[in-house]
C-alpha cells in the first residue's frame, strides 16, 4: 500500500544546531506509529515539519501525498494535530470549541450537529457540554482535545505527548480512543515517554540526538536489543544521548 507519510533524509537546522538529522521513514495508512525519544531528541521539531508548521532545512517528505515544502496548506487540510500544550480555547465551552474547530475545517451544519452529539456522548461529557473548557480536569481536556483533532476525519492525526501528566486510567481510555480512530482508517503518529504506550503501537521509531536509531515493531525491537521490555530498549539507546534538556 502507498505510504501516507514518507520522509527521506529530512533535516532541520537552527543556526549551527542540528535539531533533526537526516531522518528517513515511511508510515502506512491506518498504522499507529510511535515516535519515541528523550527530551530534546528532536521529536517535536520533526513532527512540526510533517504538519507544515516548520519548513525543513533539507531532505524531502510528503504527507498524505503533499510536499512539506510547497504544499503545507494542502497537508493541513488532511491532518489533525494535538500539540504538547493544551490548545483548545479555555474561555469557550466544550460545545463551542467543538463547533469552532469543526467549522473552520469546513464541516456542514448538519455534520457539526451530529458529530458534536456523538463526541459528547462518547466522552460522557453531557453534563459538561456547556461548561468552559478551562474548568475541566486535565485528563478530560486531553481526551476532548484529541477528539476535536479528528473531528474532520483527517487522513493522519499527529499527537505530541498526548498523555503527559495524565493518570493511568485516563491513559488507558485515551488509547481506547486512539484504537477506535485507527480502526476508522486514520493513521496515528504519536510521541510518548511512556514505554507501556510504546507497546500499543504497531511500529516504533526511537530518536537519539536528532537521528532515528531504531525502527521496528515492539517485539522485533525487543528481540534486536535482547531486552525484556520496551523500557530496556529505550534505555539502551537513550543513555548514549549527548543532548538533554
Amino acid at each position: 500500500m502507498q505510504a501516507v507519510i514518507k520522509a527521506d533524509k529530512l533535516s532541520k537546522h537552527f543556526g549551527h544546531f542540528t535539531a533533526v538529522n537526516e531522518i528517513s521513514f515511511e508510515v502506512a495508512p491506518g498504522e499507529i506509529f510511535g515516535f519515541l525519544g528523550a527530551n530534546g531528541a528532536g521529536k517535536t521539531t520533526a513532527m512540526r515539519m510533517l504538519c507544515g508548521l516548520s519548513i525543513p532545512t533539507s531532505g524531502t517528505a510528503t504527507v498524505a501525498g503533499f510536499d512539506v515544502y510547497k504544499q503545507t496548506e494542502e497537508i493541513k487540510k488532511n491532518i489533525g494535530y494535538m500539540s504538547q500544550k493544551f490548545s483548545l480555547y479555555e474561555d469557550l465551552t466544550v460545545l463551542e470549541n467543538i463547533r469552532f474547530y469543526g467549522g473552520i475545517y469546513g464541516l456542514s451544519d448538519r455534520d457539526l450537529q451530529q458529530k458534536s452529539e456523538t463526541l459528547i456522548t462518547r466522552l460522557n461529557l453531557q453534563n459538561e457540554a456547556k461548561k468552559l473548557v478551562g474548568s475541566l480536569p486535565l485528563g478530560w481536556k486531553q481526551k476532548l482535545s484529541f477528539s476535536v483533532a479528528v473531528l474532520h476525519e483527517p487522513k493522519i492525526v499527529f499527537l505530541d505527548e498526548p498523555t503527559g501528566g495524565v493518570d493511568p486510567v485516563t491513559r488507558r481510555q485515551f488509547w481506547d480512543l486512539i484504537y477506535e480512530v485507527a480502526d476508522r482508517g486514520i493513521t496515528v503518529f504519536v510521541t510518548t515517554h511512556y514505554m507501556d504506550e510504546a507497546e500499543y503501537c504497531n511500529r516504533v521509531s526511537i530518536m537519539v540526538d536528532g537521528s532515528i536509531e531504531a525502527l521496528d515493531t515492539p517485539p522485533k525491537l525487543k528481540q534486536q536489543f535482547s531486552a525484556n521490555s520496551m523500557d530496556e530498549v529505550f534505555y539502551e539507546l537513550a543513555r548514549g544521548a549527548k543532548r538533554s534538556e
Partner: protein, 372 residues
Amino acid sequence: MRTLKFLLQKEFRQIFRDPSILRVIFIMPVIQLMILPWAADYEIKNIKLSVVDHDHSEYSRKLINKITASGYFELADYSNSYKQALHKVEHDEADLMLEIPTSFEKDVVKENKAKLFMALNAINGVKANLGGAYLRTIIQDYNQEIRLEWLQMPRMNIEPTIQITSSNWYNPLLNYKYFMVPGILVILLTMIGSNLAAINIVKEKEIGTIEQINVTPVKKYHFLLGKLVPFWILGMVVLTLGLFISWAVYGIIPLGSYLTIYAFAAVYLLTVLGLGLLISTYAGTQQQAMLISFFLMMIFILMGGLYTSIDSMPHWAQIITKFNPVSYFIDVMRMVVLKGSGFWDVRYHFIIMFTFATVFNGWAIWHYRKTS
C-alpha cells in the same frame, strides 16, 4: 466566508466573556472624556503674584486692583522689598513679581512716563510666558484708562495709538474644550484599537492556541480579518459613546456632518487595527506588544498636534508627523467639528488614511507566518 463566520463567532464570545476587556472598552473612554478636557486647558489661571509697592499711591493701588480683578492673578504676597518678594519666588510661593517704584504716581503725572519692574519665575515656561503677557495687557489697558482721564486736559498732546481687535473664527469664545475633546476622542480610539488588537493575537501566541489555528487550513487573511472586524465594531461603538459624551457633557455638536466623522473613523480604525495586528506579528509576548505600542503611542500623541501645534514644530518633526495617522484624524475631527468641513475638504486625508490602512494590514498579512 463560512470560516470567517466561525472565527467571528469565537472572537465575539471571547470578548464578551472577558469582563476586564469590556471595562477597558467602555469605562475607560467615559472616564477619560469626563476628566481630561477639564485638565488639558491652556488657559493659565491662579497665577500667584507678589507685589512690591514702594509708592503706596492712589495710582499704584488702582493698578493692583485692576490686576487682581482680572481673575487670572492671585495676590500671594504684598512685600516691602524686592528681596522679600524674590524670596517668595524662590520658595515657589509666587510665580510673578511686580515692583512699583517709589515715584510711580509722581512720574506718571509729572514726567508723563513711569517704569514698572516685572520678574517671572520661568521654570514653568508656559505659565511665565502667558502670565507675563496677561500682566502686560492689563498694564497697557490701565495705561489707556489713564490717558482717557487726561484727555480733557487740552494742554496734553494726544498720541496716536493702534488698537488691535481680533475675532476668533470657528471657536469664537476660544473654548478649549471644543478644541481638546475631539482630539482626546481620537487618542482614545487609537489606544483602544491598536492595543486590543495587538494583545489579542499575542495572547493566543502565549497560550499556544495560535499553533492549533496554524495547523488548520484557515487562511491567514481570514484569521486576521476575524481579529480585525470585532475590534472595528467595538471602535465604532466607542466613537459613538465618545461623541455622545461630547454632546451631553460639553455641548459639542459638530458643525459638519456626523457622516464625515464616521466615514473617516471607519478608515482610521482599519489603520490602527492594522498597526495593532502588525505589532502582534512581531511581538512574542504581551509585554513586548505593550511596550512597542506604548512607544508608538507616545510619539503619536505628542507629535499628533493634540497638545502642541504641528505648525510650530521644527521642519524635520513636521515630516515625521506626516507619517502619524493620529495627526490626520485629529485634523479631520477639528475641521469637521469646528469648521464644518465636508467630505470634499478632507479628501486628501481620506486618501492618505486609505494608504496607511492598506500598508499596515498588507504588511501584517504578509508578515504573519503560518509556517516558520
